[in-house]
Subunit: 411 residues, 2 copies
C-alpha cells in the first residue's frame, strides 16, 4: 500500500523510517508491503533520501489514485484540519498523531470518514507509542470502563520527577526540560495541562462515544507547585503526578479532571518516571490494568502511526470501522463544582490560619508542617464538593502562590 | 453471533457473564449482538440460569450451523485438544484461554484454522485480561521486538511478595497462596516455572513466527528460594521476581529463559505486586513499553476471551487473519549453555569457600554477607556463560538447598 506523509518533521520522518525498516524485515510477516510514495512539506529537503518525492502540492497527492493512506503529522488545527478534510473527502484513509486536531474536530472528521467509507485513525494522539486507543476501543470493548487515570504528558512528569528527586524549584526543572528538548520554549500547553486535557477529551470521547470538548474539562497545571509539595507528598506516602482522570458512575455520568494528584507510592502509576506515560484503566471485567510507554518522541510516536497504517493495509474496511462521537448529552457530565474532593492542601504559614478558619465547617486537620508550609486534609471526615472548596479558598482571599490543592487519586 | 462454551468452570462461567453484561450496555456500540446458545460440560448445573442450554454432547454443538464461535475453557491438552480440532474442522472459530494447549499444539491448531478459513485466537492464554497477544501481533507488528520480560505467573509473584514483605519462608507463603485460592493443591506447574514457560513459548512463537516447544526453554522455579534471597535482593537495590524472558540479538537469534531474576527497584516490573502480571516489551521503534493487569481470575480472563469473540464477530475474515508458526529453525535459538550470565549467587556459609574456589577463574567477589549466607557476583568483570557457571557449581558439588542463582535483569 502507498502512503503519503503530510508534514516531514519529527514524527513524519520517523514514520518514513519505520516503514523503511519494515521492508527490511522488522515487521511481522502478515504485514503487506508498505511504501512511502509522497511527502508534503513546505520546506525543502535537498539532501534527503526522499527528496524526489517531497512536494508542496497537497492537492495533487489527494487526487493521486495510487495513494491509499495519508498520514497527517503537521500538528495544529488549521492547515492540518483543511488537509485532513480534503484527504478524507477524496476517499483516502487518514492516520494522525495530532491530538489538538482530534480533540477539537475529531467528531466531524470521524463523521466524514464514515460517510466516505474510509478510516480516520488516531492511535498516536494519546500516549505516543502506547497502544491505548486500540486497546480501549477493541480489546476492552466488552468492558464497561469505570475509570481511566493517566499520566499523559511526559514534560510535566519529567519536571515533577526532577522537583522531587533534585529538590529543585519548578522554574529550574522547567529550564532543564527545555535544555533537554522535553519542553517547548513556550511551555504553556504542557505545564498548564492543556495537552493532557486534550488527550483526556479524546479518551473520554472514545469511551463515551460522545464528543467531549476539551475546554469543558476542569484543568490545573503544575506551574504553581513548589518542591515542598513533593516533600509533603513523599512524607505522606505518595508521589505527586499530573493526572488526567475520567470516572464513570453507576448512572453512566462522568467526572473529568486534569490536576496534580497524590498517587500512593505502591500504585503502579507512582513508578512512572521521567518522560514516560502510563494509562491506568479499571473495567468491570478486566479489573485494573495499566499501559506504559514513551509518550512522545520520533520513533515511539511513529510506531503508533505505523500500527494504524498496518491495520488499514491488512484489515478490509468493514461495518465496525465506523466510529462516531455523537453530540454530548450534557446530563452525562457531572459538573466539576459538584464532584467530591478529598485532598491535602499545602498552605504557606502566612495564610494557614485564614484558610483553616474559612474551611472550619469541613473539619480540616493539619497533618504535616514542613518549613514554612503546612498541609491540611479535607474531605475525609466530612463530605466536601469541589465547589465548596473553591468557595472557601476564595473567601480566604488566597493567591495561587500561597497554596496548592493536592487531590488524592482514589485506589 | 452465537457462542458455544466448552467447559463451564471458572473461566467459562465468566465468559457467559461478560457476554450477558454486554447485552445490558457494557459493550461499546459497535459490538454486534452476542449470545451464548450452548454450553458443553460433563457436569450437571440444574439451578444455573443457563441450565437449558447445557449439554454433554459436544458433537451436536459442532454440527450445529447456528453456532459461529466455540470457546474452549476446558484446560489441559487431552479433551480440549480433540474438541478444538473437531470444532475447527467443522468450520467454527475457536477462542481459548488454555495456555497448555496453545503451547503444546498451537502450531497445528493454527494450521487447521488457516486451512478452514476460521480463526484460532488465544489472547487469554497469556497474562489473563492483559491484551498482550493482540498488542504484540497487531499494534507492534511494525516493530522488531528485541526483548520481552514478563511476570506471567501470579501465584509465584504473590509468594515472592509475601516472602519479601512478610519475611516468611517459601513453604509458609505457598500455604497462604493455597488458602487464598491463588495456588493449586499441587502447585508444581506454578512454582516450578512450567506455567510461565508455556506462556513464554506462546509469546516467542508469536513473535518469531516459529513453533517454539516450551520444553526446550531453560526453566528454574522458585521452590529453592529462601527469604534471605529477598533480603539480599533488597539490600542490593533489587526486587526478586520470577521472569520469563526472550531476547533477540542482531542476527535474529533468541535466548529464552524462565528463572528468578533481580529487577532494579525503579524498574516498572519491580512495582508489580501480588497476583498481578506485567509484560515489559522493547521494540526498535516503540522503545520500552509495559502491559500490566490481572493475570488470572474469572472476569479478567473472560475479558480477554470476549475481546477475541468481539474481534471475530466484528471483523470479517481476511488474509491477515492467517497466523502460522513454522517449524523451528534450531539455529535461531541460542543454547542456554552459551548464553551470557550476570548474577549474584547466594551461598550458605558452609559451602561458600568451595564455590568461590571453583569459580576462581571468573573473579567472583563477595558483595553481601547476611546471616549464614553470602552473595557473590559473577559475570561483571569477566565474561561468563551459563554453561561455565553450571559446570563450576557442579564441580563444587553443591545442592540446591545451599545456593540460588539470582540473575540480573538487563535494563
Amino acid at each position: 500500500m502507498n502512503v503519503a506523509i503530510l508534514g516531514y518533521g519529527v514524527v513524519g520522518s520517523g514514520v518514513a523510517k519505520v516503514i523503511a525498516d519494515c521492508a527490511t524485515g522488522s515487521c511481522l510477516n502478515y504485514v503487506k508491503d508498505l511504501a512511502v510514495t509522497a511527502i508534503v512539506d513546505i520546506r525543502e529537503f535537498p539532501d534527503d533520501p526522499y527528496a524526489d518525492i517531497i512536494t508542496k502540492d497537497a492537492a495533487k497527492v489527494f487526487a493521486d489514485p495510487s495513494i491509499d493512506i495519508v498520514v497527517e503529522t503537521i500538528g495544529g488545527a488549521t492547515i492540518a484540519y483543511e488537509y485532513t478534510k480534503q484527504a478524507l473527502t477524496a476517499g483516502k484513509h487518514v492516520v494522525t498523531s495530532n491530538k489538538e486536531l482530534v480533540a477539537l474536530h475529531g467528531a466531524e472528521l470521524l463523521e466524514i470518514a464514515a460517510e466516505k467509507n474510509v478510516r480516520y485513525l488516531y492511535e498516536a494522539s494519546v500516549g505516543g507509542g502506547i497502544p491505548i486507543i486500540r486497546s480501549l476501543r477493541r480489546d476492552l470493548a466488552g468492558n464497561r470502563i469505570e475509570r481511566v487515570s493517566g499520566i499523559v504528558n511526559g514534560t510535566t512528569n519529567f519536571i515533577l520527577d526532577r522537583m522531587e528527586h533534585g529538590g529543585i524549584p519548578f522554574g529550574q526543572a522547567l529550564t532543564e526540560a527545555q535544555e533537554l528538548g522535553y519542553a517547548e520554549q513556550d511551555p504553556a500547553a504542557d505545564v498548564d495541562g492543556i495537552d493532557a486535557r486534550r488527550k483526556l477529551a479524546i479518551l473520554a470521547s472514545l469511551l463515551m462515544e460522545e464528543d467531549i470538548p476539551d475546554d469543558i474539562i476542569y484543568t490545573e497545571g503544575i506551574r504553581h507547585l513548589q518542591s515542598v509539595d513533593t516533600t509533603i507528598a513523599n512524607r505522606l506516602g505518595y508521589k505527586l503526578k499530573l493526572i488526567a482522570a475520567m470516572t464513570r458512575d453507576s448512572e453512566d455520568r462522568m467526572t473529568l479532571i486534569v490536576a496534580p494528584h497524590l498517587v500512593g507510592e505502591t500504585h503502579p502509576l507512582a513508578s512512572v518516571h521521567g518522560v514516560f506515560n502510563a494509562i491506568y484503566v479499571t473495567g468491570n471485567a478486566i479489573g485494573d490494568a495499566m499501559f506504559y510507554g514513551q509518550g512522545a518522541g520520533t520513533l515511539p510516536t511513529a510506531s503508533a502511526v505505523v500500527a494504524d497504517i498496518i491495520e488499514i493495509a491488512t484489515v478490509p474496511y468493514h461495518e465496525a470501522c465506523v466510529e462516531r462521537w455523537l453530540p454530548l448529552e450534557t446530563d452525562r457530565l457531572i459538573l466539576h463544582e459538584e464532584a467530591q474532593v478529598h485532598a491535602f492542601i499545602r498552605l504557606s504559614s502566612a495564610i494557614a490560619d485564614r484558610v483553616i478558619s474559612a474551611l472550619a465547617a469541613y473539619e480540616p486537620r493539619t497533618v504535616i508542617t514542613e518549613n514554612n508550609s503546612q498541609a491540611i486534609e479535607v474531605g475525609r471526615s466530612v463530605f466536601m464538593s469541589e465547589g465548596a472548596l473553591a468557595k472557601c479558598l476564595e473567601e480566604a482571599g488566597v493567591s495561587t502562590d500561597d497554596y496548592a490543592v493536592l487531590r488524592i487519586l482514589p485506589l
